[in-house]
């Protein structure tokens, strides 16, 4: 059997094989499942005088339920590039992991630091191939040899390049804060303050966002991942003694005991078990 050394590129794009069946099911009244884990989300990014600051909330929802109170939405792409993800959590994780791996290979082959536009192109071409079915809305930011960059990427594969950006269900709340307070040449502390305010605005005004604020500051040659930089939603009224449920706490109404009869058959002179 020939295993030729010819490289056959993988067939891209979505497989539409099941679409007819889905239509038939919908016509027969079956509702599609809606409770996969989404990140309701507020994610933001802005460019300040020394680089880029990214911010995100930490709530992951499954319909009306909070599935993860402290998830990580700022994903590592390269030592100098990070990416916030909104949309279906599995999609954002998978697509950022995949592109991060491709960037690592690219760095080995070229011997150079990765560029933000490289990550951008890899992400947008993958999302375009899947025609929007990979539900990942991303805010990509980083600093490379050509300077600081900030981009937004939509699930269908279009991109924007902006000085400040927000995505997710809390994007309007966060954008309101940015639009009124953003200016060029912010310092590091001002930038972190503004990003935290924007995320908090999303946390308090959008149901899909909540819990804590994560911040990531990227400058030339240096990055700081401030996990849980702000925790504006602490658990109050936690009993310091802890909770113990002693026997007698619950009232026993009835008791019924059913003894199990043991049936043991002893066979004399049976074959020994094969070892």
């Amino acid at each position: 059997m020939t295993k030729a050394a010819i490289h056959v590129p993988p067939k891209g794009g979505f497989s539409f094989d099941l679409c007819r069946r889905n239509e038939m099911l919908a016509q027969n009244g079956l509702k599609p499942p809606c409770s996969f884990k989404k990140t309701g989300t507020t994610i933001v990014g802005l460019i300040f005088q020394d680089g880029v600051i990214l911010g995100a909330d930490t709530r992951a929802t499954e319909g009306p339920i909070v599935a993860d109170k402290n998830c990580e939405k700022i994903h590592y792409m390269a030592p100098n590039i990070y990416c916030c993800g909104a949309g279906t959590a599995a999609d954002t994780e998978a697509v950022t992991d995949m592109v991060s791996s491709q960037l690592q290979l690219h760095r080995y082959h070229t011997g150079r630091e990765s560029r933000v536009v490289t990550a951008l192109s890899l992400l947008k071409s993958h999302l375009f191939n899947y025609q929007g079915h990979v539900s990942a809305a991303l805010v990509l930011g980083g600093v490379d040899v050509t300077g600081p960059h900030l981009h937004t990427i939509y699930p269908h594969g279009s991109t924007d390049t902006l000085p400040f950006a927000t995505m997710g269900s809390g994007s309007l709340a966060a954008m309101a804060v940015f639009e009124s307070k953003y200016k060029e040449g912010l310092t590091r502390d001002e930038g972190i303050q503004l990003v935290s305010e924007a995320i908090c605005s999303g946390i308090f005004n959008d149901l899909g966002s909540g819990s804590n604020v994560d911040v990531c500051v990227i400058t030339k040659g240096h990055k700081e991942y401030l996990r849980n930089h702000q925790q504006p939603n602490p658990r109050t009224y936690v009993s310091s003694k802890g909770y113990s449920f002693v026997k007698g706490h619950t009232e026993v109404l009835t008791t019924k005991i059913t003894p199990l009869k043991e049936k043991v058959e002893v066979i004399e002179g049976g074959d020994a078990m094969e070892e």
């Binding site: 020939t2 295993k3 791996s101 290979l105």
Partner: protein
Amino acid sequence: MGDSQYSFSLTTFSPSGKLVQIEYALMAVGSGQTSLGIKAANGVVIATEKKLPSILVDETSVQKIQHLTPNIGVVYSGMGPDFRVLVRKSRKQAQQYHRLYKEQIPVTQLVRETAAVMQEFTQSGGVRPFGVSLLVAGFDADGPQLYQVDPSGSYFSWKASAMGKNVSNAKSFLEKRYTDDMELDDAVHTAILTLKEGFEGQISSKNIEIGIIGTDKNFRVLTPSEIEDYLGEVE
């Protein structure tokens, strides 16, 4: 010789039970530039000659020692282009392992997968074996490790090994000098002395390459100035 009738087809055994193409591939390795590796108690060093075909060649553009992962490096003896192909494949395999298991690939696993690729090319139609032997140096949870992979796809773990033109002299030199409790610095000195043994011409920081990995688990190629320092110490 009866074998010669079987020497052109890769996928046919000779009467003596050898695959002659693989023997020839090993000869290609044996005529390549000398490379060697030494496993110390706290790290691994690999080194090679870097003889360029002419003084006009820009030696900074040539790098024979390559990274496969942050904690695994590799050097070769034999055909450079074949080495490039293997390095690309190995890097991709390491990335795929990481994507699947979310951990850095252990040295043994990477060596096994690279060897499997080399073996594929000895049992397929229309291809030839790789004309390189690799020395893979890595440091992971099992400590420092040094592996040699041959064109046939067989691999061995070594405490110290050499390949290429000067292999027999280098190996006997290493056998005499190797001790189990060597430190990484001593290993680098021994590597330089071993290269010097069979070196034609004057050894300098421009015509050898050295890669080391220590307990920091970060493989790196030494800069020419660092090699100068080591050469000075050895004199």
